[in-house]
Symmetry: D2
Subunit: 184 residues, 4 copies
């Protein structure tokens, strides 16, 4: 049985960042880039396999006390990765464009974030397929192109690929950990 | 047989805008809004039915002399409607946000716009499903929320719904007209 | 408003067979076969476009007095076409195999025929894609291969292609006609 | 580097049955049935995650010397599970119906088994969703209903659920093992 009483700040941080925060200082290598693209490719299938047996009630459970429900998390991944795909295409077609951030916590409470998860699972299948086709065709020069995030700063595409590889696993692990804790 | 010799500027304009340009001055009514949402809902199926019998060679044919190939057009619809979905969610969560335009003609030449159309057809199925769920849950006050397009100006959501209803039909008709002219 | 009172037997027959019954005596030509394959290819998109705007309540309405609901009809199309795909592959790999019929009215009342229509729409997209790939690669000799249906008799593949082309339109028109009568 | 020279019969058997053969004598419990349904639900996502990064050349590699290519294996899973879904529905609507087997090795060489794997991955997503909805709604009495396989004999539905849970993992592990051996 899973109790949320008397949870410490450290425990909460571990629930929130189960694979740690994204480390912007890690070096990019050819191998790390290949791993990042592969992780982006594999995320939709792994996510589907992880959530497909869950009931509506389970999907509406927060992944941590005070956190998003699994359903919101799944729709958020689709929202976030559509934005990421667009940012990377902006970087490839303009000179260091300043991209438009979005208020992810407000988006997670819009009506479409309460819908059937199948929709966002299907969206992720298709979106990541196009995304990987794009990334598989970048040369070293293109990987160094950048977009400017008003808060996070200038981001080269290779760093963005690592970031979103991390981002998919980050949320997937949040969900897997809840499944484990709840014995679902 | 379809010849592109001696095509007049007017004929070219008709190929390019087969249902006319979008008319920003048309009044919005409850019925017109319902029609716009329904058109957004029906676009992915109608597009799939229109292009599914086409060969790779046919898909790589420009819809008009000097225009995008059908393949580029299909991937463009997915790109455009992801951007539109994001703009409408920005309008719902921020005060008249200035959105980031994109260079659609450059995007149409990125590597992912040469991929299998099935990917973007599936993406559109899922994306429009979430989009319609969002639009179906807006009240009159929300429909008046706006985003600011740096070139087109301030756009309320009801106008955006009409615009993208038009946009889907616009490209679908370009494709249908090529099929008719070529007797495909 | 749509009233079912005082409906005549002939009117009921027209509701049931809106494009007529399948005519086994029609000759097969190269053109009729091409049309049949194209119709099989286009069915999933046309069906999706026709039903995507319908509410759950509308989907649970019978297409005619005493008939299946639209939801049952949609799941039936997926069931029927999976069986058809399998029968055609049996005919291509065995000598006039006797296929196993199924009780379609009992299948329409199994639990999975009450589920979300999106599932069967997606199934039809993928199934028809594989089916068309199979049919597009048959030579005239293969088209004459047969399966034996215990009730309907020996069926060559070219006749089966025409039958299922008809079958898809048959149910699609039932649904479209209800939409028209109800002004949905 | 992976060499197939001098492979022993035992090694070949291990490549072919990496999780062992299906054991018909294993007892069925409520827990084993839950696990079987969950495994059926999770198969499409796990399969997608396992094969999505593979190139066309890799997909056309046999999973073992003399065995099917990965591509044939993936299309076979879709073929097999469509047949299984149909057999289980026959058992639920007729009294111990004799089902129609199929020549799986001949089917694996039909033209549609050379197509894009995305099609069968999407088909499996949708098919397993409907299948799980069916299985989740069976009561103990229904689980004891049977179909008769002309060669394998009378098969109750609970045994069939275990069999196809095994079948999915069996082929998934064949594919995963090739990936490991080849260091893909």
């Amino acid at each position: 049985m899973y109790s949320t009483e008397n949870i410490t700040a450290e425990e909460l941080e571990n629930l929130r960042y189960p694979i740690g925060k994204y480390d912007r200082t890690l070096p990019t290598t050819e191998a790390s880039l290949r791993n990042a693209i592969d992780a982006i490719a594999e995320l939709p299938g792994n996510l589907r396999a992880t959530v497909v047996t869950l009931s509506d009630e389970q999907l509406d459970t927060p992944y941590r006390p005070g956190g998003w429900s699994l359903r919101q998390t799944i729709h958020h991944i689709a929202d976030s990765h559509m934005n990421a795909f667009i940012r990377m295409k902006l970087a490839l077609t303009e000179e260091n464009p300043t991209i438009k951030p979005y208020e992810e916590s407000l988006w997670a409470n819009l009506p479409d974030a309460a819908g059937d998860i199948e929709t966002s699972l299907n969206l992720l299948d298709a979106l990541h397929e196009r995304w990987v086709l794009l990334l598989d065709n970048l040369n070293p020069e293109k990987w160094k192109r950048t977009f400017n995030h008003p808060e996070s700063g200038i981001t080269p595409l290779d760093m963005a690929a690592h970031l979103y590889s991390w981002h998919g696993k980050h949320h997937l692990t949040q969900i897997q950990n809840l499944r484990d804790r709840m014995d679902w």
